[in-house]
Amino acid sequence: MKKLFGAMVIVLLWSACKFNNTKTLPIYGNRQAETKVVNGQTVTDTVYQTIPPFKFVNQYGDSISEKNLDGKIYVADFFFTSCPSICPVMQRNMLNVYNAFKGGGDVKILSYTIDPKYDSVPILKKYADKLGVAGNTWWFLQGKKDDTYRIAEKNYLVAVSKDSTVAGGYVHQGYFVLIDKEKRVRGSYDGTNQEQVAQLIADIKTLQTEPVTETTK
């Protein structure tokens, strides 16, 4: 009897722990310690790598920069409209993300084309229409090819390159990258894998409840 009681207590404790444990997502990229003086006291902050300023054009012909994403959570991926292999799977999965968040205003999706020569603004618009994407939740972005590859490899895909031993080519592998309200990389997911994309949707909800720290401002 006593033993049983003991076991029950353990189970209860365990479950209490489990439910109290709210998940926080890792922060990817380089970090630096920055010391500064606030109110006469020296404090040390950790400064995380963030997505740098950029300028691209969306499917409506509007110019889009990092400013349009201030205070937003967003998902970025890389694709091209004439891609025959993995893109349809990625888009089918990204549509799940789109449908989950298109109502609110704080989550966006950015699909950067890696074939800007062919994927002009009208082509991107037509593609979005056929995919059933309207409004300003999901932007298909076109810019200089060099800019796209640079931001992809140096910034968005840092989470991927860190965990992988394969060199280069991540841009073509269908990753969805999760960026928080402070422009930090918080996760990367295989966009061709439905379970991982379900995890992405759950992680976005986690980020939505995360308070914004004003330390870096």
């Binding site: 004439s82 349809p88 229409d129 056929k130 995919l131």
Partner: protein
């Protein structure tokens, strides 16, 4: 004792059913199961696990009437690709399907799978049929 009799009868029935399966059914199963694998490898990315397609970009494979009336040309679509305007389930598509240069037996497998899944039921499309369809591609 009773249990044994039941078991015996059961076993007998199973044997009977298996051996009674006609050659046709066996042929169908062979094509169909091989076709499901070919589908996963060569078609599923685009047309989806359930043949659902992708909105107005990729047509679904659920339009039985289209598949039936075009039974003799879908093999050509697969082997040589397709970029004509078509109407599927009332929606028109003017996209591009890339060619998929599979041997006739694999085309027969995958067509048997597609035309007997997702709500379609057109029976076996065998290798000989596919060969004759392919010889008439435009």
């Amino acid at each position: 004792m009773k249990l044994k009799v039941i078991a015996c009868i059961g076993f007998f029935l199973v044997v009977l059913i298996i051996s009674c399966q006609s050659d046709q059914e066996i042929e169908f199963k062979r094509y169909y199961s091989a076709g499901s694998l070919t589908y996963q490898i060569h078609c599923q990315n685009c047309h989806g696990v359930n043949g659902e397609g992708l909105n107005n970009l990729i047509p679904p494979l659920t339009d039985s009437v289209f598949l039936k009336t075009n039974k003799t040309v879908v093999a050509c679509f697969i082997k040589f690709g397709l970029k004509e305007k078509i109407t599927i389930s009332g929606k028109s598509f003017n996209e591009k399907m890339p060619p998929n240069d599979l041997p006739p037996i694999e085309i027969a497998n995958v067509l048997t799978y597609v035309t007997n899944s997702f709500g379609n039921k057109l029976g076996t499309i065998n290798e000989q049929q596919v060969e004759s369809y392919l010889s008439k591609c435009k």
